[in-house]
């Protein structure tokens, strides 16, 4: 199963990963902020299993927040 992990501390909530996901699995979690004051990108738990591991989110992230394993 593919797995996406986020280094939330350095996310800037730019949303480029959200836009890049072909399955539209990512969201910006408006209920949380990191130490820099940004909301953070995440994949809701019930959506994780739908990830195909294409890494399009990670390829678009300017800040190397995302790691993808399969």
């Amino acid at each position: 199963m593919a797995k996406v992990t986020f280094n939330e501390a350095i996310c800037k909530a730019c949303g480029l990963c959200v836009e890049a996901c072909p399955k539209k699995l990512l969201v910006i979690d408006k209920s949380r902020v990191n130490a820099k004051g940004y909301n953070v990108a995440t994949i809701p738990e019930d959506k994780q299993s739908e990830c195909v591991g294409c890494a399009s989110c990670a390829v678009m992230c300017p800040d190397c927040v995302i790691t993808v394993t399969r």
Binding site: C14, C61, P62
Partner: protein
């Protein structure tokens, strides 16, 4: 067993990037790092030249030796370094469009004409990002900036400069390609282009430049997602993607 599909390159330090949210500089930094890693270039043999502009702090992000050049002079610094240190050292140059196409126009033209064995990554975001959004030589016709508040006007400001097309005319330019960062497929293509440029230097074939169409959401006044759409819909029609010079077989 779990296989890593994507992780941060070991050519980058752990320093958080200072760039604004959604800025293409972060993508370009990462691609350069990934290419050097995948080409197995020894970290000890790499020297990068950082520009003046938003990428000025690049020396904190690449885990290799870096030099900060005076505004626009990165190709001249790279020329000296490469000639003194020889082909055992890999020298990459990173420049914005204000740096490369404005104050540094002479340096880049002559580095290309001399076919210096260096690789240049040229970040074209059509604006002076660092200084607060002034018009650049590359700004589009009609583009609003702090110094073209009603939009870039031909009579007053002249036409945008197409650096890739211009430098491709020089016999010294071995490889010149324009790529974009507006979606994942194009970012992957951009990486291949940067790798081609780096190989050019490793094979001692001389000057290469990859122009990377980039977003400056902050000074364009757009969200990061809208800025990428702007590249696709408005920037690429004026700055078409593609290979403008490929003289690798002649060198």
């Amino acid at each position: 067993m779990e296989k890593v599909v994507f992780q941060k390159s070991n050519m980058l330090t752990d320093a958080p990037l200072h760039f604004c949210p959604g800025c293409s500089h972060g993508i370009a930094n990462r691609l350069i790092a990934e290419c050097m890693e995948e080409l197995n270039i020894d970290k000890k043999n790499i020297v990068g030249i950082a520009p003046v502009g938003c990428a000025v702090f690049n020396y904190n992000y690449f885990d290799v030796d870096m030099i900060e050049a005076a505004h626009g002079r990165a190709p001249a610094v790279a020329t000296g370094l490469k000639r003194v240190l020889g082909n055992d050292k890999f020298v990459f140059v990173y420049q914005g469009d204000g740096d490369l196409a404005s104050i540094g126009a002479a340096e880049i033209i002559h580095a290309a004409a001399r076919c210096e064995n260096i690789s240049v990554v040229f970040i074209n975001n059509g604006i002076y990002g660092m200084t607060g959004g002034q018009m650049a030589p590359t700004s589009l016709l009609g583009q609003k900036s702090t110094t073209s508040q009603k939009g870039r006007d031909i009579g007053r400001n002249g036409y945008p400069v197409k650096m890739s097309e211009m430098l491709a005319q020089l016999d010294g330019a071995t490889y010149i390609e324009r790529v974009s960062t507006h979606d994942a497929a194009n970012v992957r293509k951009a990486k291949q282009a940067i790798k081609t440029a780096f190989k050019c230097q490793l094979e001692n074939k001389g000057f290469s430049m990859i122009e990377v169409l980039s977003a400056c959401p902050t000074n364009w006044g757009l969200t990061p997602v809208k800025a990428m759409e702007h590249i696709k819909n408005d920037v690429i029609p004026y700055y078409p993607l593609g290979v403008f010079a490929d003289r690798r077989n002649e060198k």
